[in-house]
Amino acid sequence: MKRTHLIAIALLIAFSFLSGFTYQDVASTGDISNLMTSLKLLPARLQMAIGAELADSSADLPPVQTFWDVSSYLEANYYGENKQSGDALCYAAIRGMLAALGDRYTRFLDPEQNKQMQEDNRGDFEGIGAQLEMKQTQVTIVRPIDPSPAKDAGIRKGDIILKVDGKPVQGLELEEVVRLIRGPRGTKVTLTIKRSDVPEPFDVEIVRKVITSPIVESKMEDESSKIGYIALRQFNEKSDQLFDKAMTDLESQGMRALVLDLRGNPGGLLDVAIEIGSRLIPEGDIVVIQDKGGRLSRYGVEPSKQNHRMYPLTVLIDGSSASASEIIAGAIQDNKAGTLVGTDSFGKGKVQTIMSLPGGSAVVITTAKYFTPSMRDVDKLKIHPDVVVEPSDEDIKNDVDVQLNKAVEILRTRLGANKAVAGNRADEKS
């Protein structure tokens, strides 16, 4: 046989193999656009499939039996002063087991952590009113709620908490730090703060109050150009209703363009994100969800939710915009429905479900992943703003919101340009 024949046959076989390998993705969704994604993932998947085949399968270790054997042995034979209580050992084992999955969002909540999580979800709590996050092992202020005791005491975004009532917080879980800061209204808490432009850490004493975390804040940011501003702080059951109310309010003042602020918004309910996204994107997809088993579902704009006009739009994001915030930002970017301003988002492309366990503890499990309509993996790539604006130390000190200023400036330019171009038929549509 001629060499060219051999090459042709080899190519045919390789092509057949690849078709077989990718067949499932396209066939299961009927969407040919998944083919490109599938091909992009091919090298990694092949490596994984072959790796799995080669892995020693004779040495399986059943987790429950192994835990039981080792903990029994420890109970009967461990010699030392640091003997842990059975509960603590069991929780540590569960945490270790979940850590092995390599997914930082799948985690165990012991009864105390679970109780606090539930308090957080209720919305009202007694504390100082500051949103915290863990940044490179530092407990950092995302922003003080306005109004709140934290804001009144001069706590700023980016402040690092070193101690709470004299107790160092290094090495503690974020939830433990929150537990230390919270307490009954009227009582005092002292935070030792490190601020980037102050050389020495300093103490701030704050009196706790009942805090109601705001969901939506809005104002007419630019009266002359009629540029409205809506800050969405979280996605919960009330968010879409409050968003509508803010829109109606701004429209009554003659709004011509909108700044949506998703900075510091950690996310929330997925369907609420889709509903609010529908109000901001004329048409197209909002998110692609991959559930267990790998099935991909595309969620598009819901026309029934489009109860307002569409406006020229800028969206503010930062490193604390996560999850549902990234869904909306990504969808707006992919559908070219607005301009994103700020800094890279957090990068959380996974959906969790909290499941209760006997004895008051719970487990948080990643049950789905999501991608932007163009199949960008938010978890790895984050959302890059179209216009990067990073506030300087000076800006933070002087309380100047350069990101918001930029977003407003972009809208002003666009409104101006529209006026000039569409001057002739200005009355036709509006």
Binding site: Y23, Q24, L41, G96
Partner: protein
């Protein structure tokens, strides 16, 4: 012939069809192979980095023989804990976005054991993955890799801050570490130009800033940046251990902090395999024999009596037992060897969770020769016990420096996938009940370590024995 020609034509055509059938068949098979390989995994699940880290050889070898997990007594724990873990696993299997394969379950089981043991906060009670399990087996058999040194993790607490130091228990004889001049007690601070991360430098700087309020802004900022840089270019302790105890070729530069030296020392060390002869002997002169025990493994148990007889037959009237740089090994081997020198009796007191027992063998005749034992900072674990037994029984005089001070007993619990849980199950005390953990065993005659060219400790031992022989 036309008929023949037609037959040839037909044959050719069939062979083409046949070839195509084979090709199409192969293509189909390839399609199915691709599809089935693909079906075994989840869509969009890219490889995830494992959080179960390989740690590496820290102690030479456990003091007890391995226990198989299948053989241990069951049902000692709280059933609610098993049920809770079971519930979590079931929920994860049912709902976690990626499929949980058998390999993943094995990883989860290892993670559970690791999480549980780490929470105890005892550096010797830890999970050992199959790779390190192999290193432990090799070490027990006298085969060492990397720089050929026994390393230990030392925790120190200063204020709010905990530091972890990688210290050398001892270099093994003939190892690259010994050739490079590494000594017991050396602290390895850098490997290959990378700082071994011993603490969180940023936090340390912050603490200093808080204690010392008069710090100028510029130097503070500079310090902060340096700390960040340090962490970024650092090497985790487990990666450092991996390199130092597992590599079989290449070389590296170590930065070492040595007690008594102000300046750090830089040493070039090779990575290669070292095979250790656990027991060696020679005659120092016509009357004095010398036996060195580098490791207490089963081979040492077999070879010690042979070497002892060899020394007697060569006319030894006195004996130097060299326990320097001997990191230990099996408890049974150690008590067996000690009994041959002391003639039996009490050999150790073992404290376990609920019991305290004495290891004793029937008293027979002691060795009947004057003995001097050499000890130093690298004499650890069961080697220290042997030194203490020789001293307490009056059989030997100890010469050298104070021993390492580790009498804790580890038992490996071997899991079904050949990984293991290394668990502290007891503590050795001397036959008289003295606890030497932490304090070490003190020599009768203190002589500091010499150098390569002048073994002053051995000279001293010999002098002591010559004096005794001279008198008798």
């Amino acid at each position: 012939m036309p008929a023949d020609k037609g037959y040839q034509e037909l044959k050719k055509r069939y062979s083409i069809i046949g070839t195509w059938l084979v090709v199409v068949g192969l293509a189909g098979a390839a399609f199915l192979a691709g599809a089935s390989l693909r079906a075994k995994q989840d869509v969009f699940s890219l490889p995830q980095e494992s959080t179960v880290q390989a740690s590496a050889l820290i102690k030479l070898t456990p003091e007890q023989m391995p226990v198989k997990i299948e053989s241990i007594a069951k049902a000692q724990g709280d059933v609610r804990h098993r049920e809770l873990l079971n519930s979590v696993l079931k929920l994860v299997q049912a709902h976690y976005v990626d499929k949980i394969t058998a390999a993943e379950e094995t990883k989860m089981a290892r993670g559970a054991v690791q999480g549980m043991l780490d929470s105890i906060g005892d550096p010797d009670t830890r999970f050992v993955d199959p790779k390190e399990s192999k290193l432990l087996d090799d070490a027990a058999a006298g085969r060492f890799h990397g720089i050929g040194a026994i390393l230990a993790l030392k925790r120190e607490k200063q204020g709010d801050e905990e530091t972890h130091k990688l210290i050398v228990v001892t270099p093994m004889p003939g190892s690259p570490a010994e050739k490079a001049g590494i000594r017991p007690g050396d602290v390895i601070s850098d490997v290959g130009g990378k700082w071994v991360i011993a603490y969180d430098p940023g936090f340390a700087k912050l603490n200093k800033a808080m204690q010392n309020q008069d710090i100028d802004k510029l130097s503070y900022k500079k310090g902060w940046q340096e700390a960040e840089e340090k962490l970024k270019n650092g090497l985790s302790i487990s990666s450092a251990l991996d390199e130092l105890t597992a590599k079989t070729s290449g070389e590296t530069t170590l930065r070492i902090e040595r007690p008594g030296h102000k300046e750090p020392i830089e040493l070039k060390v090779q990575y290669r395999d070292t095979v250790v002869d656990p027991v060696t002997s020679r005659m120092l002169d016509k009357r004095i024999g010398y036996i060195r025990i580098s490791q207490f493994n089963p081979r040492a148990a077999k070879e010690f009596p042979v070497e002892l007889t060899k020394m007697r037959n060569a006319g030894a009237k006195a004996l130097v037992i060299d326990l320097r740089n001997s990191p230990g090994g099996l408890l049974d081997t150690a008590t067996g060897i000690a009994a041959q020198l002391t003639g039996g009796g009490n050999l150790a007191v073992i404290r376990e969770q609920t019991t305290r027992r004495t290891i004793r063998v029937p008293k027979t005749k002691a060795i009947g020769l004057p003995v001097t034992a050499l000890i130093n900072n690298g004499t650890a674990s069961v080697a220290e016990l042997v030194a203490a037994v020789l001293k307490e029984s009056g059989v030997a005089t100890l010469v050298g420096t104070r021993t390492f001070g580790d009498g804790l007993i580890q038992t490996p619990l071997v899991l079904r996938d050949s990984s293991a849980a290394l668990i502290t199950t007891g503590k050795m005390l001397t036959p008289k009940g003295v606890d030497f953990t932490g304090s070490g065993v003190k020599p009768d005659k203190e002589v500091a370590d010499g150098d390569k060219d002048a073994d002053v400790q051995l000279e001293e031992a010999r002098k002591l024995l010559q004096a005794k022989l001279g008198r008798s």
